[in-house]
């Protein structure tokens, strides 16, 4: 299959690679940029493990082709903590809001977007918002606790 040169900005660094048009954004991030914090859980857009930010909004890395993202700004879990999501990461640790950690990068990025959209969510709103990100280990409660805790801390700032 013909390869095409794709250039993406990933976490502020330009990454160029000649890839097949069928390569997903998630695979590009993992195999070309070698950022393995973005996980691939289902490859059909359901589980949310591959959630990344594309031009400021969350997206499923497995539902986009890398060539669709030409010129886009991609943000992954690897620079999530730089002044933005560090409080969420810390809260996830404090509340034990992760067990195996496979869903965690996607869950954090989704939770961060929720708190940007709605700084004062109810518990049920958090549950609804995160329903596009599957977790098989925790039962979700600790994740909700962590997000509510960060919402509260951010409001107090």
């Amino acid at each position: 299959m013909m390869k095409r040169l794709v250039t993406l900005s990933i976490n502020g660094e330009e990454v160029s690679a000649a890839v097949e048009p069928r390569m997903t954004l998630a695979d590009f991030i993992r195999s070309e940029a070698r950022l393995t914090g973005t996980h691939v859980g289902c490859e059909h857009g359901v589980c949310g493990a591959c959630t990344v930010r594309v031009d400021g909004r969350t997206a499923r890395g497995c539902l986009l082709f890398a060539i669709q993202c030409e010129g886009s700004e991609i943000e992954t879990i690897e620079n999530f903590g730089d002044g933005k999501g560090a409080d969420l990461q810390q809260a996830f640790v404090e509340h034990n809001a992760l067990q195996c950690g496979f869903c965690t990068p996607g869950m954090l990025i989704a939770a961060d977007e929720l708190l940007r959209d709605d700084p004062s969510p109810t518990r049920q709103a958090v549950r609804e918002y995160l329903s596009g990100n599957y977790c098989r280990c925790t039962g979700y409660q600790a994740i909700v606790d962590a997000v509510m805790d960060v919402a509260e801390r951010r409001r107090r700032k």
């Binding site: 950022l35 859980g41 990100n133 098989r136 925790t138």
Partner: protein, 796 residues
Amino acid sequence: MTDLSGLDRPNSYIGRSVERPNAARLTRGRGRFVDDIDLPRMLHVAFARSPYAHALVKSVDTAGAAALAGVIRVVTMSDLAEYCTPWVGVLDHLKGIKSASQWPLANGKVFSQGEPVAAVVAASRAIAEDAVERIAIDYEALDPQVDPKASLAPDALPIHAELGDNLCFERKIDTGDVDEAFSTAAHVVEAEMRFNRHTGVTLEPRSIICDFDASQRALTLYMSVQCPHMSKNLFARHLNLDENNVRVICGDVGGSFGIKIHTYADEMTAAALAVMLERPVKFVADRLESFITDIHARDHEAKARLAVDGDGRITAFDLDDLTGIGPFSVYPRTSGIEVNQVLNLTGGPYAHGAYRAHGRVVFQNKNNMCQYRGVGHPIAVAIAEHLVDKAAKVTGQDPAEFRRRNFIADDAYPYTSPSGAIYERQSHRECLDKLLEKCAYDDLRAEQSALRRKGVYRGIGLVSLVEVTNPSPAFYGVGGARIASQDGCTLRLDPTGGVTCLTGVTEQGQGTETIIAQVAATAIGINMANIRVITGDTETVPYGGGTWASRAAGIGGEAALRAGKALKQNILSVAATILQDRAENLDIRDGVIVTAVDRTERMPLSELGRIVYFRGDTLPKDLAPELVVTRHYTQNTYPFCFTNAAHACYLEVDTDTGMIRLLGYWVVEDCGTVINPKLVAEQTRGGVVQGLGPALFEECIYSPEGQLMNGSLADYLVPMAGEMPDIVVDHVVTPTQTSELGAKGVGEAGTAGAPAAVMNALNDALGPFDVELTDMPFTPEKILRALGRVSGRDQK
């Protein structure tokens, strides 16, 4: 124990909700899962899998695939025959269990949809998948056996002709007095129940990289697995390698729940290909492969009854359980263990004297079924707890009171159940009483009653259960499987004063590394931050069983405790020489050697390390400091350490839509010594949700042709955050006397109880309609059918 858990000590971590040291790494994308590893010269494998549930493989044409650029090799079973021997999933102690030889690739016949027939090794997974599409396989379809009852019919064609019939395993327990108990009973209640086939859906799929060094005939396996030493043995055995030359490295594991403790044909093929090609081979199942090849769970049909005497006491249980396991008993743990557990555990909390149970395990042409979180427990618990609720109703008692009256007497322990299970000590009454207090049971009943008058149907489901943990060699070892029940811990004091800890138990997110560090740090007297725990590498960690059957804390924890105490003694004896004092006058607190009586600081461990490692010249010549210790532990007092728990579920049923809304869930569990309350609670919550899933949503739906109809995450429903309730967890603490630590396991109890709690709450909610639902999952359609709100063709 008192010297360890005294709260005045700075390093008393047992009983404290400390954070997991390995969690921060995972929040920053610094996990190391198998698919994150990329070895030089690594190849990728993809499989041509059978679309048929049962078929002869007439021919396989691989020429088109082999011709594709980037393809290195295309193989069928005949190519692998000299590299890999077949396996049979039987154990000696399951009398009469039988299964057929299983090959890594189809050996002329396929027995379930998804069975691998040919494998392509290529430069990338994408190329390998392209090539798979070019493989032409000529099948001759055979009639599939999908229904377990039909598989047992006298005229049913045996799936494996050499076995004679489709009965894999059968077990009966009969205390002999059952018929009399039923004939003299004041009441008899009975039910038929169906437990849906479902699967684990580990978010990280099964993954393996096989790296073969031909110069050493050494195989290194990077695996997402729960039991590295077991895998080391199995791959060595079936690839004809020296077991000493096989190394399993298990890094981060993205969920397992029992899925990742079995032998899978595709993983064995990947390893055989690595040996054949002398290059690293990676196999990562995609989600669609996971659904049709990860072991499935449950698939039981049960019929059971319970006898009650005139005093409202349970006198007997009588049950028949039939389970369909797919075409093979899974190797090496077998697919007979689950039925065995159903028979061992049904009615576990109660003091009935008479017991009869019949379990049958049947071959069928569906995916293989084997041990998944809770193994047998959800079935045993649901059977008994549903009948107990019915018995309470028929005797006019509140279900809580009926349970309390029928529990094994508190002073009867240790107690041998009619099934032969031995309970060291259970706290059913205390757990139930605490549960009722936690959920404000009387208030819930009052609310239920008030709302019912307004046409709102809410139900409360109670469950009491026993859970198998801390298994002895009786689980697998006596059956001939090389699955260790003992486990070990090695502790090394480094020159820095820090400690390196190696343990045979493994981490899949439960918090194993944390609790091992808590126990070891407590025993030695150092800050937890100064312990590094290493798991999962067979080249370095002590030989052990890994993590399954809720054994990591109880078995691995006790080994860590013993190692920690021994290391402390060794440190103090060296310190005594250096300080010219007596070892018994010294203690270690927060990494500093102190005078025991007044805590005067004498020497930091880092100074002791410096002297021992670098200035041995200053020590007496006959002093032989030993700052590395290893201790092992086997629980062999009882076959298992049973825990117990009580669950309550509160839910509302919309009788117009059939939708269930979970309003509340409470668990009081007794896992003995609680090493880390937060981790225990989180294991419990996660377990509960894994039980709520199959009670409400999860089901592997098969067509009559043996085709999985919903094998994608878009079609197979798992619990999402929005549907799950907050879950209140509390504890009763009855430490096991089998170990000094006193810890039992907690991994299964949530999953064990949740399906029964939902079922009981649902039937309680629908009490006024005189309907009974016992066919999981409880979908809106089934509820509306039961209520007579919809009719027409049954989808099931």
